[in-house]
C-alpha cells in the first residue's frame, strides 16, 4: 500500500473544497475544456494545412531542391531552363542531380467529365522520388502511355481506376500500370499521377522551359553550403528539405492570412478561457475567504494557503486540458472518418502550446486567488 505523505492532507482538503462545489467546479472545467478544445482545433487545423502544403517535399524526399527564387509553394513551380540541370551536375560536391516535373493536367474520365490532377514526372534514368507501389511494378512506368495512380483520399475522384484502366490526359491516352501510396496527401484535394519526366513534358504542353525542380543529392552534408552558393550564382535558389518546408510554411502562415486568422482565433479562445476560469476561480475564493481566514487564524501558514490554491488551479486546469484534448481528438477522429480529406492533425507542439496556455490560465487564476487570500487578516474574521 502506498503511504500518503502527510503534507498531502491540505491538498486533499483544497481539492474537496473546490470539487464539492459542483457548480463552480463544472463552470471552471467547462471554461477550460472549451478553451483548450478551441485552441487545439485551431492549431491542429493549421498544422494539418502546413503539413499538406509541404506534402510533395516529403514525398519526393530529395535533400536539395533547386527552384526559381519566386516559388513560394510546391504546386506553383516556375519552370527553369534545361541548362540548370547540366550546370548543377558540374558543381563540386554534387553526387547526382535529376530533374523533376511537377504540374497539373486535366484528366478526361470515361463519363466525359474532366478532373484536375497533379502530375509528377520522375527522372527517366533513376526514377528518383518514386512512390511506394501497392499494386504493379514501378518499372512498368516505362511502358507506353504508362501512369501510376496514388491511392489516397482523392483516388476515387478518378473513378477508382485499376491496372489497365484507360483515360485521357490533355487529349493523350494514358494507361494505369500501378497503384502507389505516398506518406502525406496534398492540400488541394486533387488526385496525383506519377509518370516519367519525358512523358510528362510531352503530355503536358508548357512554355519555353520545362524543368520544375532540380533535385540534388550532395556527396555529404558539408557540401550543401557550397552547392547553395553555386546555384545562387546561376540566379536560382537551392534549398534543403527543411528550408523548403519552412519557406512554404511561411508563405501560408504570413502571406495568405491563414496564420493570422488561426492566431487570432487561438488568442480569442485563450482569452475566453482565461476570463471564464479566472472569474469563476476568483468568485470561488471570495466565497470562501472567511474560511481561508479562519484557517489562517487556526494556524495555517501563508505558503500552505498559497499551495492549496495552486493545487486547486493546477489540478482543475489539467483536468480541463485532458478533457479539451480528448474532445478535440475525438472530433478529429470522427471528422477524418466522415471527410477523407480532413486535414487537421494533432501534433506534439500543439499539445505543448495548449498546455503552456492552460498553465498560464492556471497561473493567472491562482495569482488573483493568492493575492486575495494573503490579504486576509484573521482579525477581520474575528470581528465578523
Amino acid at each position: 500500500m502506498v503511504e500518503m505523505k502527510p503534507v498531502s492532507g491540505i491538498y486533499r482538503v483544497a481539492l474537496k473544497l473546490l470539487m464539492n462545489d459542483k457548480s463552480k467546479f463544472t463552470a471552471l472545467l467547462v471554461g477550460i475544456t472549451f478553451a483548450v478544445f478551441l485552441m487545439v482545433m485551431m492549431m491542429s487545423m493549421f498544422s494539418g494545412i502546413l503539413a499538406r502544403s509541404c506534402a510533395p517535399v516529403y514525398n519526393i524526399g530529395a535533400k536539395i531542391w533547386v527552384m526559381d527564387p519566386a516559388v513560394n509553394n510546391t504546386n506553383s513551380s516556375i519552370p527553369m531552363p534545361d541548362y540548370i540541370l547540366s550546370a548543377s551536375r558540374s558543381i563540386p560536391g554534387v553526387k547526382y542531380s535529376v530533374p523533376l516535373y511537377f504540374g497539373s493536367a486535366l484528366v478526361k474520365l470515361k463519363n466525359g467529365a474532366y478532373q484536375a490532377a497533379t502530375v509528377v514526372g520522375l527522372d527517366d534514368a533513376t526514377l528518383f522520388g518514386r512512390p511506394e507501389m501497392i499494386e504493379g511494378r514501378i518499372e512498368d512506368i516505362f511502358a507506353d502511355n504508362a501512369f501510376v495512380v496514388v491511392k489516397d483520399a482523392e483516388y476515387a475522384k478518378l473513378e477508382s481506376p485499376k491496372i489497365g484502366t484507360q483515360f485521357e490526359i490533355n487529349d493523350n491516352s494514358a494507361t494505369v500500370v500501378g497503384l502507389a501510396k505516398v506518406a502525406s496527401s496534398g492540400l488541394f484535394g486533387i488526385p496525383t499521377l506519377y509518370t516519367t519526366y519525358n512523358r510528362a513534358i510531352t503530355y503536358i504542353p508548357s512554355a519555353r522551359f520545362t524543368t520544375s525542380y532540380v533535385l540534388i543529392e550532395p556527396k555529404s552534408d558539408a557540401d550543401i553550403p557550397g552547392i547553395q552558393k553555386a546555384i545562387a550564382k546561376l540566379g536560382y535558389e537551392a534549398l534543403t528539405r527543411d528550408q523548403f518546408v519552412k519557406k512554404v510554411s511561411n508563405f501560408y502562415t504570413y502571406k495568405t492570412g491563414v496564420g493570422m486568422n488561426i492566431m487570432m482565433m487561438t488568442a480569442i479562445s485563450f482569452v475566453v478561457g482565461l476570463s471564464i476560469s479566472g472569474q469563476t476561480f476568483y468568485t470561488f475564493i471570495l466565497e470562501n475567504i472567511g474560511k481561508f481566514g479562519a484557517m489562517k487564524a487556526i494556524g495555517a501558514k501563508g505558503n500552505e494557503l498559497v499551495s492549496m490554491i495552486l493545487v486547486q488551479a493546477v489540478v482543475t486546469s489539467l483536468i480541463g486540458y485532458g478533457l479539451g484534448v480528448g474532445a478535440a481528438s475525438t472530433f478529429m477522429i470522427i471528422a477524418k472518418w466522415r471527410v477523407p480529406d480532413y486535414a487537421a492533425q494533432l501534433t506534439y507542439p500543439t499539445l505543448g502550446l495548449a498546455l503552456v496556455m492552460v498553465m498560464i490560465i492556471a497561473g493567472f487564476s491562482s495569482y488573483i486567488g493568492v493575492r486575495k487570500v494573503l490579504q486576509i487578516q484573521p482579525f477581520d474574521i474575528f470581528r465578523g
Binding site: 503511504e3 500518503m4 502527510p6 503534507v7 498531502s8 492532507g9 491540505i10 486533499r12 482538503v13 474537496k16 473544497l17 464539492n20 462545489d21 470562501n288 472567511g290 474560511k291 481566514g293 479562519a294 484557517m295 489562517k296 487564524a297 487556526i298 494556524g299 495555517a300 501558514k301 501563508g302 500552505e304 487578516q377 484573521p378 482579525f379 474574521i381 474575528f382 470581528r383 465578523g384
Partner: protein
C-alpha cells in the same frame, strides 16, 4: 498547575487609523489568565473585547505592550512560528463558526490535525473521537449546513479542541443561539472541556451565562475596569 499563570498581558495598546481618525481600541490593558479557569471578558459593544482577545491569541499585533503565553513572548516571534503557536496551543471558536460548507463535519473537525500533518485516515479517526466528545458522532458525515445552530457551535468546539490546545478562545459563543442552547453549551464546555491544564477565555455580553465564569473581567472604553466572580454576578442577575 491550576492557578499558575498561562497568559500574561502587559500594557497592551492598540489603535486603528492615523491622525484625526485614530481610535484607541485598547488602552494600557494588563491582566493574567490562569490554568484551569474560565475567564470571561465582558463589556459594552465597542469596548475593545475582541481587539484584546486577538492580541493575546497571536492574531493582532499590538502597538505597545507584550503578551507572554507559557513563557514565550509571542509578539517577538516570526509569523510562521506564531502560526505554529496558534496551531499547537490555541483553539478558536468564532462567533459565526466559520465551518467549511463543502466539507463534512468530521473533515471540518480534522482541519487542525491536518495542518499538524497528521496522516489523513488517522486525522479522520481522531476527529470522530472529538465529535463524540461533543455528542455529534452520528453527524460526522453530514455537511455542517444540515446541522442546527447549536450543533454547528459544538462542531466548532470539537474543531477547536482537536488540536489539543492549552488555551481556548471563544468570541461571543452564544450570540447566535437561543438562551437555553447557549447556556447548555457553555455548561458543557465548563464540565467537559475545561481542565487543569488549560484555560478558557470567553468574550460575551450575554449575562445568562455569567454563572459559569470563574472570573469576569470588565472592560469599558478600551480599559479593564475591574473583576467580579461569576457566581456573584449571576446572583445579581437573578434578583
Amino acid at each position: 498547575m491550576k492557578g499558575s499563570v498561562i497568559i500574561s498581558a502587559s500594557n497592551l495598546v492598540k489603535w486603528f487609523g492615523e491622525g484625526e481618525a485614530r481610535t484607541v481600541a485598547v488602552k494600557q490593558a494588563s491582566f493574567e489568565a490562569q490554568y484551569g479557569e474560565m475567564l470571561y471578558i465582558v463589556g459594552p459593544s465597542g469596548s475593545g473585547k475582541t481587539t484584546l482577545l486577538s492580541m493575546i491569541s497571536g492574531i493582532l499585533r499590538p502597538n505597545e505592550g507584550s503578551v507572554i503565553v507559557e513563557n514565550q513572548d509571542i509578539w517577538s516571534m516570526k509569523d510562521d512560528d506564531l502560526a505554529d503557536l496558534r496551531l499547537n496551543k490555541i483553539g478558536f471558536v468564532f462567533q459565526d463558526y466559520h465551518l467549511f460548507p463543502r466539507l463534512t463535519t468530521v473533515e471540518n473537525v480534522a482541519i487542525p490535525l491536518i495542518l499538524k500533518k497528521t496522516e489523513w485516515n488517522a486525522a479522520m479517526e481522531l476527529a470522530r473521537d472529538y465529535l463524540d466528545i461533543v455528542g455529534l458522532k452520528d453527524r460526522a458525515d453530514l455537511q455542517p449546513v444540515k446541522l442546527s445552530g447549536g450543533e454547528q457551535q459544538r462542531v466548532a468546539i470539537a474543531r477547536a479542541i482537536a488540536g489539543q490546545p492549552d488555551i481556548l478562545i471563544f468570541d461571543e459563543p452564544t450570540a447566535s443561539l437561543d438562551g437555553d442552547t447557549g447556556r447548555k453549551i457553555v455548561e458543557f464546555v465548563k464540565t467537559n472541556i475545561l481542565n487543569e491544564k488549560r484555560a478558557i477565555i470567553i468574550v460575551t455580553h450575554d449575562s445568562r451565562i455569567y454563572e459559569y465564569a470563574d472570573r469576569i473581567m470588565k472592560m469599558e472604553d478600551g480599559k479593564i475596569v475591574g473583576y467580579e466572580s461569576g457566581y456573584e454576578n449571576s446572583q445579581q442577575h437573578e434578583k
